[in-house]
C-alpha cells in the first residue's frame, strides 16, 4: 500500500500500547477494526478533539489510507474534529427526557455558562454538545453525560452541584 512518509511521533507511547492491545482482538489482517478505539484514545489524550495530524498518525500506525480514518472520525458523534472545550457535556433530550424536563436542564446550563448548545466556554473548559441520541437511561430522566459519566434524575439544583464539583 502506498503511504505518505508522515511519521507516527504524534502518537504517545501510551496511545500506541492501547491501540495495539485492541489490534490483538481482531484477525491479523483486520487492523482497521481498531480505528474507533484508536481515535477515542488519541482524542482523549488531546483534550477532547482530533486534529488532522493525529488522524494521519492513526492511519500510519494502522497502515490505513487517511480517508478511512477521516470517514470514521466524521461519521460517529463522539468524535470532534474541531477544537472544543475539554469537558464534554451531553444533555439527553430524547423522548423520555423530553417528557421529564430536559429542555429546562439545557436552558439552565446554557444560562450558567452563557453559551448555546454546540458551543464551548471561552476558557476552553466546557463543551455543551448537541446530543441527538437517546443515552439509554430513560427510567431516570432527565439525565446528562459528562465525559462518559452518567448523571441521572437531574434538577437544575443537582446540575449546579455536579458542575461545581468538576471545577
Amino acid at each position: 500500500m502506498s503511504v505518505s512518509n508522515k511519521d507516527t511521533s504524534q502518537l504517545s507511547e501510551h496511545a500506541r500500547q492501547v491501540i495495539d492491545h485492541w489490534v490483538a482482538k481482531f484477525p491479523p489482517d483486520k487492523k482497521r477494526s481498531a480505528v474507533i478505539e484508536a481515535l477515542r484514545t488519541v482524542q482523549h489524550e488531546n483534550n477532547g478533539y482530533l486534529t488532522a495530524e493525529l488522524m494521519d498518525a492513526v492511519a500510519e500506525h494502522l497502515d490505513l489510507p487517511t480517508i478511512q480514518v477521516y470517514e470514521v472520525a466524521t461519521f460517529y458523534s463522539m468524535f470532534e474534529t474541531r477544537p472544543v472545550g475539554r469537558c464534554h457535556i451531553s444533555v439527553c433530550t430524547n423522548i423520555a427526557c423530553h417528557l421529564r424536563g430536559s429542555a429546562e436542564i439545557v436552558e439552565h446550563i446554557e444560562k450558567r455558562f452563557g453559551i448555546k448548545t454546540g458551543e464551548s466556554t471561552p476558557d476552553g473548559k466546557f463543551y455543551l454538545k448537541r446530543e441527538e441520541e437517546c443515552l439509554a437511561a430513560c427510567v431516570n430522566a432527565p439525565m446528562m453525560m459528562i465525559d462518559h459519566v452518567y448523571y441521572e434524575n437531574l434538577t437544575p439544583e443537582t446540575v449546579d452541584q455536579i458542575l461545581e464539583g468538576l471545577k
Binding site: 470514521v72 451531553s90 423522548i95 441527538e132
Partner: protein, 436 residues
C-alpha cells in the same frame, strides 16, 4: 397470583444481591451450569437449537425474529471461521435495559454468548457495546470477562475438551444506525456504520465476509435460564408466540419509572399500576409501547391491550424493544413528534435518498407548523412523504422514521390541525389555560 411474583426470573435474576455482577453471585443463581454441561459434552448443538426454538424466544432487539430459527440459518459445519456478535449498541429511544444487564448481570450475557456460539460452530464472538457506556457498563462487562477467563469458562480447549470460545468486547462511538445489524458489522470492521444490502444475510456473509449471527443482549442473556429451566417453563411464562419475559423500560409520565422484568403478555393496565400509575394522578393520553420507532397507541386502546407481540401488532403497533413511553394529557403531540423526527433526521446514515432527504422534510414541516407557518395541506404532505420513505430504503431506519409520523397524525390529527389554525399554539396549552 400477582404479576410481581414473576419478577426478575431471567436476565435480572441476580438483582437484589449485593454486587449482583460478580461471578459468585451469578453462580448462586445457577449460572454457568448449562455451559459446564455443554463443556462436559452433555448437550449437543442440535439439542440447544431445538430447545431455543421450543422456548419461543424471539429477538428482543425490536424485530422479534425467532431466535432458534435464526441460529439454524448458520452453516454450522462449513469450514472456516464463523462469528457470533452481540448487539449491545442499545440506542432505540426509550430503551435502557441492556445497560442494566451489562451493569448488573454481565455473566448471563457471557454464558448466553458461549452457548449460542457453540450451537452455531462459532469460536470467536464480539460484544458491540455503545460508546456512551464507556464509564460504567463497559468496565463492568470487561471485569466479568476477566473473571470468566480466569475461571476457565472461556478460552481454548476448555477443560480439556475440544471446545474453543474467545469473547472480545468492542466499543462504538455514537451512531444509532449501528444498532442495525449490518451497520453494526460495518462498524466492527472499522468503517462508518452504513447498513448493507440484504441478501446476502449475515449468516452467509457477515463479519469480514464470514458466516455471522447478530443477536441482542437480552436475547442472549435469556438463553442460560432457558437451558437450565427448560423450554416449556420459559414458553409458559407468556402467551402463545410470545414466550418468556420482557424487560419493560417504563419511562415518561409515570410515578415509578423503571426497568421491570415481567412475563410477556402482562396487561398494560397492570404494568401501569406496578409503575405507580400516571405521574401526579393525571390522565393518560398515549403510549409508545416499544421504543420511538413503533406507532403510538392512544390511551383508550392500550388500556385494554396485553404487552406481547401479537396483541400490540393487532392494535397496529409493536412490542419492539419493550420500551414503554408514557404520555399524560399535558403532552403536546406535535412537539413530541418534532423531537422524534429530529432524531431520525440526525441519525439517518445518508446512503438512501428517501431517508436522507425525507427525514429532513418531515422535521422541517413539523417545525414550520410549530413556528405558526403551517398550512392545511401540510398534514397530507407529511403522511405522503412518510409513505414514500417507508419500504424504500436499505434498512429499517426509514420505516422507523415513517411510522411515528403516520401514527401521530392518524390518532392526533386534531392537535396538528389546531396548531396550524392557531399560529403555532398548542391545543394542550390552550386547554391548560382554559382549565386555570
Amino acid at each position: 397470583m400477582s404479576w410481581l411474583d414473576k419478577k426478575n426470573l431471567v436476565a435480572f435474576a441476580t438483582l437484589g444481591r449485593d454486587e449482583p455482577w460478580t461471578l459468585a453471585n451469578y453462580r448462586a443463581t445457577g449460572g454457568y451450569e448449562s455451559w459446564e454441561k455443554i463443556i462436559r459434552g452433555e448437550i449437543s448443538p442440535e439439542e440447544i437449537i431445538d430447545i431455543v426454538k421450543a422456548s419461543g424466544l424471539r429477538g428482543r432487539g425490536g424485530a422479534g425474529f425467532p431466535t432458534g430459527l435464526k441460529w439454524s440459518f448458520m452453516p454450522r459445519n462449513a469450514p472456516g471461521q464463523k462469528y457470533l456478535v452481540c448487539n449491545s449498541d442499545e440506542s432505540e429511544p426509550g430503551t435502557c435495559h441492556d445497560r442494566d444487564i451489562l451493569r448488573y448481570n454481565p455473566h448471563a450475557l457471557i454464558e448466553g454468548m458461549a452457548i449460542a456460539a457453540y450451537s452455531m460452530g462459532a469460536t470467536v464472538a464480539y460484544n458491540y457495546i455503545r460508546g456512551e457506556f464507556y464509564a460504567e457498563p463497559v468496565p463492568r462487562f470487561e471485569a466479568a470477562l476477566r473473571e470468566a477467563y480466569d475461571a476457565g469458562l472461556l478460552g481454548k480447549r476448555l477443560r480439556g475438551s475440544d471446545i474453543d470460545f474467545d469473547l472480545h468486547m468492542f466499543v462504538g462511538a455514537g451512531a444509532y444506525i449501528c444498532g442495525e445489524e449490518t451497520g453494526l458489522l460495518e462498524s466492527l470492521e472499522g468503517k462508518p456504520g452504513k447498513p448493507r444490502f440484504k441478501p446476502p444475510f449475515p449468516a452467509h456473509y457477515g463479519l469480514y465476509g464470514r458466516p455471522t449471527t447478530v443477536n441482542n443482549t437480552y436475547t442472549l442473556a435469556s438463553v442460560p435460564t432457558i437451558l437450565r429451566k427448560g423450554a416449556e417453563w420459559f414458553a409458559d411464562l407468556g402467551p402463545e408466540k410470545s414466550g418468556g419475559t420482557a424487560i419493560y423500560s417504563v419511562s415518561g409520565h409515570v410515578e415509578k419509572p423503571g426497568n421491570y422484568e415481567l412475563p410477556m403478555g402482562i396487561p398494560f393496565r397492570e404494568l401501569l399500576e406496578i409503575c405507580g400509575g400516571v405521574l401526579g394522578g393525571k390522565k393518560l393520553k398515549a403510549v409508545i409501547p416499544g421504543g420511538s420507532s413503533v406507532p403510538v397507541v392512544p390511551a383508550e386502546i392500550i388500556m385494554d391491550l396485553n404487552m406481547d407481540y401479537d396483541s400490540l401488532s393487532e392494535a397496529g403497533s409493536a412490542l419492539g424493544t419493550g420500551a414503554v413511553v408514557v404520555m399524560d394529557e399535558t403532552t403536546c403531540m406535535v412537539s413530541m413528534l418534532e423531537r422524534i423526527s429530529r432524531f431520525y433526521f440526525a441519525e439517518s446514515c445518508g446512503q438512501c435518498t428517501p431517508c436522507r432527504e425525507g427525514t429532513g422534510w418531515l422535521n422541517r414541516m413539523i417545525l414550520r407548523i410549530m413556528d405558526g407557518r403551517g398550512q392545511a395541506e401540510d398534514l397530507d404532505m407529511l403522511v405522503n412523504v412518510a409513505n414514500k420513505i417507508e419500504g424504500h430504503t436499505i434498512c429499517a431506519l426509514g420505516d422507523a422514521a415513517a411510522w411515528p409520523v403516520q401514527s401521530f397524525i392518524k390518532h392526533y390529527r386534531h392537535e396538528f390541525q389546531y396548531m396550524i389554525e392557531h399560529g403555532g399554539k398548542s391545543i394542550v396549552e390552550a386547554k391548560g389555560r382554559a382549565a386555570a
